[in-house]
Amino acid sequence: MEKVDHAFVDEIVKAGADRIRTCIQCGTCSSVCPSGRRTAFRTRELIRKALLGLKEEVLSSPNLWLCATCHTCLERCPRQIKVTDAIIIMRNMAAEKGFMLPEHRRASMKLLETGHAVPINTANREKRVSLGLDEVPPTVHSHKDALDDLKTIMERTGFKDLIEKQEAEK
């Protein structure tokens, strides 16, 4: 049987989902969830497992990544639990433990390298020119010093280490 971690819910509360313990398992969150309509993802179950302290099970589940962050559950929760925030908090913990999905790791690598999670490519350079726009947008794409600053920020917050650690472990 899986180890129960009673501190798990405390960590979630501390990170900002302060009303999570007031959950009455009414299921409103699951019933309004657009991902839950078509997958086995059940928000209510996720919250219940978190409250039970089933940390490993929650953090290792691919279902944790099916939330589209539409915030409908958060709006409708009769106990005003910040459900979406709770999911994001648990995702942060999952990433820390190395449970990031490969596609998310790749998008993060792009951000680390270019400052854009979706960087410019040849086809869109051409499209921009044909529209009379600058070939490269006036973002970090056009300013190396700005990109350097951004890279420093991502090193300082630990993002570079986090993503490179996942790269190494894959």
Partner: protein, 298 residues
């Protein structure tokens, strides 16, 4: 009309790097209705509220704050045309304003980079700024009414929610975007689950295309049931979702079942203002816009 307002134009990732045609329509239309845009040089990814924020919230907060600091330095509020970027800035501002220790944490990360940040600049969605101009004023700009055009309005999620941190007077059943669509002479057609998500956010688009496409298709089916001529959005990521999902699903089906043109609000308004297709980037869509354009009276 009141005097021109100037904003720092935040581009984000998807708009300039995948759908520059939307960027073009914004750059052409906004100055014509009294909204001046100044470049936000050196801005980056917002970063995405459901993606990067899901991996490292402190990184998300620091990068969002850097973008806001650039606007603060320019002395303007930020204006964005993406619901995701809007959500990021609204949430990041709230976080540092409610928790001064988080602001200090960000300032510490900025040390030595010449970035001053006091969370003074506001973040606005361009549709919020357009709506503030007023329906009556905007209607005066219409020279080519889009009479007969049936529009499926898609608000998206982060424009509206969490409602506690959004400027709209209602929390549900919003009408502001429908009003903005109908001032062009087009009709906003009601459809089932209109306020449902497009399915792109939270990293679902990137990691689970079948689920993401399935959510988009549910909305598209609901719109097709009421015979819309186009789906209207105000978010570069929702825009990507409806364009890409239709193309991908058609490929899987082996038939072109989904052919609903995906139109950004400034493109629709621009059409009603008599602007040319090329100025609005309407010739650069994945799903061809011609069937919809053919319905517009000359």
């Amino acid at each position: 009309m009141t005097e021109a307002q100037t904003y720092s134009f935040f581009l984000g990732c998807v708009m300039p790097n995948r759908f520059p045609n939307i960027e073009k329509s914004i750059r052409v239309v906004l100055p014509k209705i009294g909204i001046e845009l100044e470049e936000l040089e050196g801005a980056s990814c917002c970063p995405a509220p459901g993606v990067i924020r899901s991996f490292s919230e402190p990184t998300w907060l620091a990068i969002a704050s850097r973008n806001l600091a650039l606007a603060e330095k320019a002395g303007h509020d930020i204006i964005t045309g993406c619901n995701g970027c809007y959500g990021t800035f609204k949430e990041a501002l709230l976080e540092v304003r409610e928790h001064p220790d988080r602001l200090k944490e960000v300032q510490k990360v900025f040390k030595g980079l010449g970035l001053k940040y006091k969370a003074k600049a506001e973040a606005k969605h361009l549709i919020e700024v357009i709506y503030d101009i007023g329906i009556e004023e905007l209607t005066k700009k219409v020279t080519r009414p889009l009479t007969g055009l049936k529009v499926g309005v898609h608000y998206g999620c982060h424009l509206l929610k969490p409602s506690k941190n959004r400027p709209w007077k209602q929390t549900e059943r919003h009408t502001f975007l429908d009003e903005l669509v109908e001032l062009t002479g087009a009709e906003s057609v009601p459809y089932k689950d209109k306020f449902m998500c497009c399915g792109a956010g939270g990293g679902v688009r990137g990691s689970n295309a079948p689920v993401s496409n399935d959510i988009a298709v549910e909305k598209l089916d609901n719109m097709m049931d009421v015979g819309v001529d186009c789906v209207l959005n105000v978010c570069s990521f929702c825009h990507l979702q409806f364009e890409v999902a239709q193309a991908q699903v058609n490929k899987e089906l082996g038939e072109k079942k989904y052919q609903i043109p995906v139109i950004y609000y400034t493109q629709l308004l621009g059409l009603a203002m008599g602007l040319e297709l090329e100025e609005l980037g309407l010739h650069q869509h994945m799903i061809k816009t011609q069937p919809m354009l053919d319905k517009i009276p000359e």
